[in-house]
C-alpha cells in the first residue's frame, strides 16, 4: 500500500483552477521530487497535502486514512512534517528552543503546564542530538533570527524533521544558497531523510536528479509525467513542456 495517495485532487481559488485532477501515489521510503515551471502549482500542492489549504475536490490519504481538509496540526501529528520555501522559524527564540518546541508534541507533552521543559532530560538530549545532526550545536543559545541564511535553512530542516515524521516534505530547501552551501545542504538532506519518505520541490535539476528515485512533472496544475529520473530525461512531453524552456544548467 502506498504511504501517501492523492486521488483526483483539485484546487481552485475563485474561478482560477490551480491544481487540476492530480493523482499521485508515494511509496514508503521513496524519495520523490516534484518539478515544474514557476506558477505550476508545486507549492499549492504542498499546502494541500500539509493542510494549509483545503482541497476543492478529490481525496488525500496517508497511511490508509483520509487527511484532506484536516487542520495542519492534525496532519502534523499523524506524521507529515514540512519545511517552507521562505524560512519559517521562531525568530525570537533560541536555536535550541526552536528544535525543542518542534519536539514537544511528538514526545507527548501536548499542552502540559505542569512540567518544566528544563527538567525533561530525554527531551533536551534529543534536541541537542538534532542540533548536532544539522550542525548548529555551537549556535544553540543564539536567537534564531540572528543566524546566517544557510544556517536558518538548516534550522528550518531541523524543525521539520525533529518530530521524527514518516513523511518529510521540503519546499525548495536549497533555494538562494551558494554552490558550496547547497552541497552541504544536499548532504544534510540525505542524512536526515535516511529511511524516511521524502517529497521535495526543487528547481536545481542537478540536485533533483541526484536525490530523487522518482520525479513528477507538474505543468499548469496537472501532472504530465511521473517516472524515474532517466525516463523523465527522455520523455518528449516533459522536454517540450519544461526542460526545453529552462535549459539545464551544468
Amino acid at each position: 500500500m502506498s504511504l501517501l495517495t492523492l486521488d483526483a485532487v483539485c484546487k481552485s481559488f475563485g474561478s482560477t483552477r490551480i491544481i487540476n485532477d492530480v493523482s499521485l501515489d508515494i511509496e514508503a521510503g521513496e524519495k520523490h521530487a516534484i518539478i515544474g515551471p514557476n506558477g505550476a502549482g508545486k507549492s499549492t500542492l504542498f499546502h494541500l497535502i500539509s493542510g494549509r489549504y483545503n482541497v476543492s475536490s478529490g481525496a488525500i490519504g496517508f497511511q490508509g486514512k483520509s487527511i484532506h481538509n484536516l487542520p495542519p496540526y492534525e496532519i502534523a501529528r499523524r506524521g507529515i512534517a514540512r519545511s517552507f520555501q521562505v524560512t519559517n522559524i521562531f525568530p525570537r527564540m533560541s536555536v535550541f528552543e526552536n528544535i525543542r518546541c518542534a519536539l514537544l508534541w511528538s514526545e507527548g507533552y501536548r499542552y502540559s503546564f505542569w512540567q518544566l521543559v528544563g527538567r525533561q532530560k530525554k527531551l533536551n538530549e534529543k534536541s541537542f542530538g538534532i542540533l548536532e545532526q544539522i550542525g548548529l550545536s555551537d549556535k544553540a543559545q543564539l536567537p534564531s533570527g540572528e543566524l546566517a541564511y544557510a544556517q536558518q535553512r538548516a534550522l528550518e530542516l531541523g524543525v521539520a524533521i525533529a518530530s521524527g515524521a514518516e513523511l518529510i516534505m521540503l519546499d525548495e530547501p536549497v533555494a538562494g544558497m551558494s554552490n558550496s552551501e547547497a552541497e552541504n545542504a544536499v548532504a544534510l538532506i540525505r542524512r536526515i531523510t535516511e529511511g524516511k519518505t521524502l517529497i521535495m520541490v526543487e528547481h536545481d535539476m542537478n540536485i533533483v536528479f541526484d536525490i530523487a528515485d522518482r520525479i513528477s512533472v507538474l505543468v499548469y496544475g496537472e501532472i504530465i509525467a511521473t517516472d524515474t529520473p532517466e525516463n523523465i530525461r527522455g520523455n518528449k512531453r516533459v522536454q517540450e513542456a519544461y526542460l526545453g524552456e529552462v535549459p539545464c544548467d551544468a
Partner: protein, 411 residues
C-alpha cells in the same frame, strides 16, 4: 531553576525588608499598591509579551475577581460563610479564571486585530452591565467590604496596612513564581512559539487557538488574584477598576517596563505606581508626564526599561561598563537642566494668576523674566545634550566592542 535560586531568595528578602525601610504610612501604602499592580502587570504580559495577544480589556478579569472578593468579604462579615481572608486572592483568581475560560473560548480564535477588538468590546460590555446589574456591581458607588472579620490568621486581624502588606507580599511571591514557572512549561514555551510564528506552530502539531486559550486562562487567573488583593487592600471597588482606563494602565506598565523580559512588567508597575502616588502630589500635570514618558519609551526604548538595562549586557561582558559612567553623567547634567526647564514651562503655563516656586525662585505667568529663565534653561539643556551626545555614542560603541585581549570568550 537551581541557578536562579539566589534571585528568588533575594526577591523574598526584598519583599520582607522593604516595609522596614519605607516604614511611613505613605511608604506602606505605596508598597501595597505595588504588590497588586506587579501581579496584574505580570499577568498582562502573559498575554502581550509571552503570547502576542494585545488586549484592551484585561481589567475585566482583575475587576470581576475584585468584585467577587469584596462580596466574599461581606459574606464573611455577615457570617454566612467561614473563610479566612488570607485566601481571598484565590476567590479572585477563581473568578478571573472562570471569566477567562468563558471569554477566551471565542476570543482566542485569532490573534492580532480581531483579538484586540474583541477584548475592547468585552471590556465595554462588562462596564455597561456594571451599571445595569447594580446589585452585584453597586452602580456608580461600587461595593464596600470589611477585611477585619472572619477567623484571625494566627492572631492577625489585618487592622493595619503593614499586615496587609505581608499578605500581599506572600501572594505576590507565589503568583510571580508560578507565572515564571508557567513560561518554562511546554504550554508556556509554545505560547512564545505561537507569538513568533503562528503558522509554523500549527505545522509542528499545535493548535494555535488552544495554546492562546491556555495562556489567556492563566492570565485571567492571575489578574483575578491581583483583583482579590485589591479588594483586601482598599476594601471597596467600583466600575472604574474594570474599565478601559485600568486596562490601559496595565498595558502602559507592561510596555514601559519591557514586554520581552519577565521582569519588565515588574519594573513598569513599580515606576508607574511611584509616579501615580508621588508625582500626583506635586503636579496636576502628572498624567501629561506619564504620556510623554510612554511616547518616549515607544520611540526610543522599544524594549522598555528592562530592555534598556539589558542593553548593557555586552558592555558588562566586555568588562567595559565602567567606561560608560562618566559619559552618562556628562550627558545627564544637561539632560536634567532640560527636564527642569521643560517641567517648569509646563507647570508655569497652567498657573494662571498663581506663582510657581521653582528651586527657590518665585515665577509668575505675567513676568517675561520668568519665561525667559525657563526657556534659557531648556535651551541650554537641549544644547548640552546635543553637544555631549556624540561622546556618549562613541563611548557606547567602544564599550560594546569586544576587547582584543580576551578575544571571543565574551559569551
Amino acid at each position: 531553576m537551581k541557578k536562579q535560586f539566589p534571585i528568588w531568595l533575594g526577591f523574598a528578602l526584598a519583599l520582607i525588608l522593604l516595609p522596614q525601610i519605607f516604614d511611613t504610612v505613605l511608604g506602606i501604602s505605596i508598597l501595597n499598591q505595588m504588590t497588586i499592580w506587579i501581579i496584574f502587570a505580570l499577568s498582562y504580559n502573559m498575554l502581550l509579551g509571552q503570547g502576542g495577544m494585545l488586549s484592551f480589556g484585561h481589567a475585566v478579569y482583575f475587576g470581576l475577581g475584585g468584585f467577587m472578593s469584596v462580596h466574599a468579604l461581606n459574606l464573611i462579615a455577615d457570617e454566612i460563610i467561614v473563610f479566612s481572608i488570607t485566601l481571598i486572592p484565590l476567590v479572585g483568581g477563581a473568578v478571573g479564571l472562570l471569566a477567562a475560560v468563558f471569554i477566551g473560548s471565542f476570543s482566542t480564535r485569532k490573534s492580532g486585530t480581531v483579538f484586540a477588538m474583541i477584548s475592547l468590546g468585552i471590556g465595554e460590555l462588562i462596564v455597561a452591565s456594571s451599571l445595569i446589574f447594580a446589585d452585584f456591581f453597586g452602580g456608580e458607588a461600587g461595593v464596600t467590604g470589611d477585611r477585619t472579620y472572619g477567623p484571625p490568621f494566627f492572631g492577625i486581624e489585618f487592622l493595619q496596612d503593614a499586615e496587609v502588606y505581608y499578605l500581599g507580599a506572600f501572594w505576590l511571591f507565589v503568583a510571580t513564581l508560578f507565572m515564571y514557572l508557567f513560561t518554562q512549561t511546554p504550554a508556556g514555551r509554545m505560547a512564545n512559539a505561537v507569538r513568533d510564528n503562528p503558522e509554523r506552530a500549527e505545522f509542528i502539531g499545535y493548535s494555535t487557538r488552544r495554546v492562546r486559550f491556555i495562556s489567556f486562562c492563566a492570565a485571567g487567573l492571575f489578574a483575578g488574584v491581583a483583583g482579590g488583593l485589591f479588594a483586601i487592600n482598599y476594601e471597596f471597588i467600583t466600575e472604574e477598576n474594570l474599565n478601559a482606563l485600568t486596562s490601559g494602565r496595565v498595558l502602559l506598565m507592561a510596555y514601559i517596563g519591557g514586554l520581552g523580559f519577565f521582569i519588565g512588567p515588574i519594573v513598569g508597575a513599580v515606576i508607574l505606581t511611584l509616579m501615580n502616588s508621588l508625582l500626583s502630589n506635586y503636579s496636576e500635570m502628572w498624567m501629561l508626564y506619564l504620556g510623554i514618558m510612554f511616547l518616549l519609551t515607544v520611540l526610543f526604548l522599544p524594549r522598555g526599561f528592562a530592555g534598556f538595562i539589558m542593553m548593557h549586557q555586552t558592555a558588562w561582558q566586555n568588562r567595559r561598563l565602567g567606561t560608560l559612567i562618566l559619559p552618562y553623567l556628562i550627558t545627564a547634567i544637561p539632560a536634567s537642566l532640560f527636564l527642569a526647564g521643560f517641567v517648569g514651562l509646563v507647570e508655569l503655563s497652567h498657573k494662571g494668576d498663581d506663582t510657581l516656586s521653582f528651586f527657590g525662585l518665585i515665577l509668575g505667568t505675567e513676568s517675561m523674566l520668568s519665561w525667559g529663565i525657563l526657556l534659557t534653561l531648556t535651551g541650554i539643556g537641549a544644547l548640552g545634550v546635543k553637544l555631549s551626545g556624540p561622546r556618549l555614542d562613541a563611548a557606547w560603541v567602544l564599550a560594546n566592542t569586544v576587547r582584543s585581549d580576551n578575544g571571543g570568550d565574551a559569551q
